[in-house]
Symmetry: C3
Subunit: 275 residues, 3 copies
Amino acid sequence: MNTEIYNTEDINTGKVLEKLRQKRPIIHHITNYVTVNDCANMTLAIGAAPVMAHAKEEVEEMVAISNALVLNIGTLDQTQIESMLIAGKKANELDIPIILDPCGAGATKLRTESANKLIMDLKISVIKGNAGEIGTLAEAEAEMRGVESGGVKGSPETVAKTLAKKTGSTIVMTGKEDIIVDANKIYKVHNGSPMAGKITGGGCMAASLIASFSAIEKDYVKASVAALICFGIAQELAEKQSDGSGSFHTQLFDKIYSLSTIIIPQYQKYIRRDI
Amino acid sequence: MNTEIYNTEDINTGKVLEKLRQKRPIIHHITNYVTVNDCANMTLAIGAAPVMAHAKEEVEEMVAISNALVLNIGTLDQTQIESMLIAGKKANELDIPIILDPCGAGATKLRTESANKLIMDLKISVIKGNAGEIGTLAEAEAEMRGVESGGVKGSPETVAKTLAKKTGSTIVMTGKEDIIVDANKIYKVHNGSPMAGKITGGGCMAASLIASFSAIEKDYVKASVAALICFGIAQELAEKQSDGSGSFHTQLFDKIYSLSTIIIPQYQKYIRRDI
Amino acid sequence: MNTEIYNTEDINTGKVLEKLRQKRPIIHHITNYVTVNDCANMTLAIGAAPVMAHAKEEVEEMVAISNALVLNIGTLDQTQIESMLIAGKKANELDIPIILDPCGAGATKLRTESANKLIMDLKISVIKGNAGEIGTLAEAEAEMRGVESGGVKGSPETVAKTLAKKTGSTIVMTGKEDIIVDANKIYKVHNGSPMAGKITGGGCMAASLIASFSAIEKDYVKASVAALICFGIAQELAEKQSDGSGSFHTQLFDKIYSLSTIIIPQYQKYIRRDI
């Protein structure tokens, strides 16, 4: 097929955002202690309600009152992974979407193996990572399942598609161009600013936004595209009013907070392509 | 009685704040990892000195050099609760005020039970929560002590009074109107901005401020009212100069930092009523 | 000797900073949960790449891909200290510089003993603390080694020199005047703003900057001086554009981010003295 459609109307990010703000979904995070405050504030800025809880004794109850679950392995340890598995199983049982951020997969064995364990044991709705992380998981999946790993080499798009096919999850590969794929379709989002790389937590906050949208829009590709459009536009607007990484950081929350159905269509830049 | 007195001079928040800034009390926090940075910065902004320490081996020593102790169960686990109990017992021994933030009580069993255990085992000076948290604890207290739980239903004021009577603590119930009660008196603070709900940590920072004032003013109702007046005024001033949740967050520290004996009387809005 | 040389050209902070930004060294932190976000953002603002990881299973691998290691005991516990020892031994093996921030040494036994254990078991490149922390460690070192502790009393400079001699490390004693010493030379940095004391994490961020420069400049005294000049200048510039502790905090990152080879020579204030 390969029909590229630019800024097609089938996402309607503004409408989903309005619904999000009305429903105010609860987003349960089991995440790293580096950017957890940013994740909470980003979740609030978009209009959802964050909750953070990691104790084994309570994660099932917390998931049960939530509308999406973020699992981020940025500062993982064994205890945390166990809690993620407990929370994740409950989320699967209740059909609550799970967003996995395999932060640092590929950098250490613990991270790669933990991310893979989460993928194998849980039904993950969206796996969001950078090229290195998604590549690592695509490779590992290939190896674990005895598939020739040659297939995962190649373009970022191919790698993302490989992982999508293996896992059945929506794959979000962030970068200068964000790639979002599932078994049937590919989107690319071109919004964003290089300033996002000058602060920590850009990827983590993106996961919080994807979770917030996934609580509302059950087509997780569309939810992820909507989240990344919002995040990218906010970055562009924040960059214009900042004098460095500190004010960019502050502005990023202001701009997400101020997004509207009027601003989004003016700035959004994305491509859809059928597979 | 029910005599409502508006902006009566018996609090004198400005004077207590001046004393606080001269004495620079040390506020030991055992708190959650989501908003801990905000709590430290808020404590510094008001003029006190924060210290964070959770290891069982050191909490007693840390409490012993502190002037108030904040216990916040926002991201609790069993190990942390044990440390809270150790620190709390030492604080009681040394007559150092304890401020409890039963964050999320009612949301999970672990939170409700842990908050209740802290209340049962420790002498808490101030329990600060939202309506749901205070309601949960009032109910639980009622149940545990075999009291008919019907009594805790009703107005927020009644619920707060019930918990105050049961525990002997000063109760702070935050909301659009903050209610502060002990066995003898009720205050209501009307300062504040809805923007405080758009960032995480508002309640946690309020607890840090209450602790800072409680280290100076031994009438904990007055200390809590003074803290909430300061926090509410800062929110109002911050709102005026912010374009969203990010700049509001930044401004909140600036405004607390800049509070003075001139600003406070101009903006404070509170009611006292004898019981 | 005692020749004081003001703003001598032998540091050339601007050039080291340019090299830092080209090389983008990876700085592994095992640090406290209070200021970890600030440390990550400060590392990014100067041009390096932060990574945070504490699990025993992965710290060796993480160190192995890093260019410097920060150990900060601000919210220590036994598990964390074990991870620090594992990571530190690997760093020593690979000749990766270790920067120790003995945060709170002197306040509790656990902190003093843990800092001393790290110093005894590891080869530390730079120990950075305030006068109290460095004094505690100089004293403890003296006691442990059976040296008369009288020697560590006296001027801050003497205390710093004592610890430098005992440990072989570069010692950074921060304060109104920052003192940087090793066995052969002393520098003093006079840049900085009192506003840095109004936010949490000033010391922690200084350690992140020292680590970033130590990954590039192998004379750790010069690396530390360069880092403190940058941090002090940024504080001065940030103070001018801030209205309180919140905006100062934000500005601090902007100013570090915007430092250039043109700005630094205009503002730097430091003294070198041969011993």
